[in-house]
Symmetry: C2
Subunit: 287 residues, 2 copies
């Protein structure tokens, strides 16, 4: 196979399997090329993708000599996304009775899912995460998008324990918005053993749901490596959970007043360059 063709095949193989080790020996067999040529190809691909900011290629140690692609969001894309999304969410017609914000359209948008999945995954590539956990329903697409980048399964916390879930572990909790005792459960069989979980949700007010999910995960002896939410409210200031990644902050919603939506500093800063390092320090859970 000629170099041009090989570069395309290797790029495709890496991009189609984010955060999954690709064996150079397998690629050598498949393309009928020497491993040394493939190593050169990978070096070129790494340089191009790094320069573009769309991801990082790591070379993995070990007998098989694999490589791995980890998707990221180029800075200009991140900034444009943050600005446009903040404007989109601040549309006054999104205000719902009871001080809620309509987001269902945004949470199903394929471009939003693609970028958010990468932004959620990015700080956690080195955390040893092996499962993304989300409470049904609206956050599931975000969780699936993040789990795709991390190449880990997604596990859905259910409000009701249904027959098709098989055996399940349940906890009770007091929901923040409805102020009543509710149940949540996870199918025992769906959880990996020695789970290291990233919790994903679309919206966080006080954090009661995330806190309850953490409690449920503790019953599985799972480690929580982090929590990522699409929107977190300014109020209450003190959340029930610490250390979480929120892409957008939402001011208090009041009829007739402007909806204030602010992107996280690592996404967009007035006149400054956002830094992802900033986000990483704050959101990785303590061991």
């Amino acid at each position: 196979m000629r170099r041009a063709e090989r570069l395309i095949r290797v790029t495709q193989r890496l991009l189609d399997h984010p955060n999954d080790a690709v064996s150079l020996s397998d690629l050598a067999d498949e393309t009928g090329s020497a491993k040394s040529s493939l190593s050169e190809d990978v070096a070129i691909i790494r340089r191009v993708l790094t320069a573009h900011g769309s991801g990082v290629i790591d070379t993995l140690a070990g007998a098989s000599g694999g490589v791995r692609f980890r998707p990221r969001v180029p800075e200009p894309v991140r900034m444009a996304f943050a600005k446009r999304m903040a404007e989109r969410l601040a549309d006054p017609s999104r205000l719902l009775p009871g001080g809620f914000l309509y987001m269902s359209d945004v949470l199903g948008d394929p471009d939003v899912l693609e970028i958010t999945g990468r932004l959620f995954a990015e700080p956690f590539y080195d955390s040893g995460v092996n499962v993304v956990v989300t409470m049904e329903t609206k956050g599931i697409p975000l969780a699936v998008a993040a789990a795709r980048c991390l190449h880990v399964p997604v596990v859905i916390v259910r409000r009701e324990h249904r027959v098709t879930d098989g055996a399940a572990l349940s906890v009770h909790y007091v929901s923040g918005s409805e102020r009543r005792i509710q149940t949540m459960s996870i199918s025992t069989r769906a959880m990996p053993s020695d789970a290291r979980a990233l919790i994903v949700d679309d919206f966080m007010r006080a954090g009661a749901t995330v806190k309850a999910v953490r409690g449920l995960l503790a019953e599985f002896h799972a480690q929580v490596v982090g929590t990522a939410v699409f929107v977190a409210t300014d109020q209450p200031r003190e959340k029930l959970v610490d250390r979480y990644l929120a892409l957008f902050r939402l001011g208090t919603l009041e009829e007739g007043k402007r909806i204030e939506v602010r992107p996280a500093e690592f996404l967009w800063r007035e006149g400054g360059t956002p830094s992802t390092a900033h986000a990483n320090e704050e959101v990785i859970a303590h061991e």
Copy 2:
């Protein structure tokens, strides 16, 4: 930019945005290359991806001269997936009380989602589909995966109409497994106008849920371009809906008996070559 680098950038741009038109003029600006050189690059990429079976690149007519990548599943991958998954689903420990099959682990598996998303999308690329619709909860990851390939939004049908959905359209239906009247609703704002919907679900027995979703979509004056389910049961033989794609067929579940799971013929055939054309004819809804 040198050809090698350009090939990588263009491959990445296409693969990162499945079924989305990429403008050659934009790529020319971005890479500082002539459109004619990019056209040659695209021709090489097309040849490599087509030969590998991992997708098709179309050139779109019009002033902007765009190109578009549509992911597919290479035949060996499709066959290996079908065989392995049939075995995995036939594990006797999956049998649940009441004749249900445990699938939650499979439905959150990132490799299963990647392949299934492509298999679900493939017959519908030319259908004009502009939304993927799924009933909460377990089918949502499959729907997200298919919607990613098709580059369309995913809309979730809810069992309860919640405040965060805003205005919603609801219908009643009799659920197949629980034999009682239930409600399902869709947020009106989440549905595109002139919707052409692909319905996705994880499991179909009689088809009552899918039939109800079709009824609900009719209230939106939406066209249903097709229905794709992961597993459909053999019994009842006569479903409440016609023309649907099912990746796997499930025999009657009985305690102590072998679980029979058969891949669809277009995925895997004993001693024969599966044909996707076969699937397409059967599952595309009539106009």
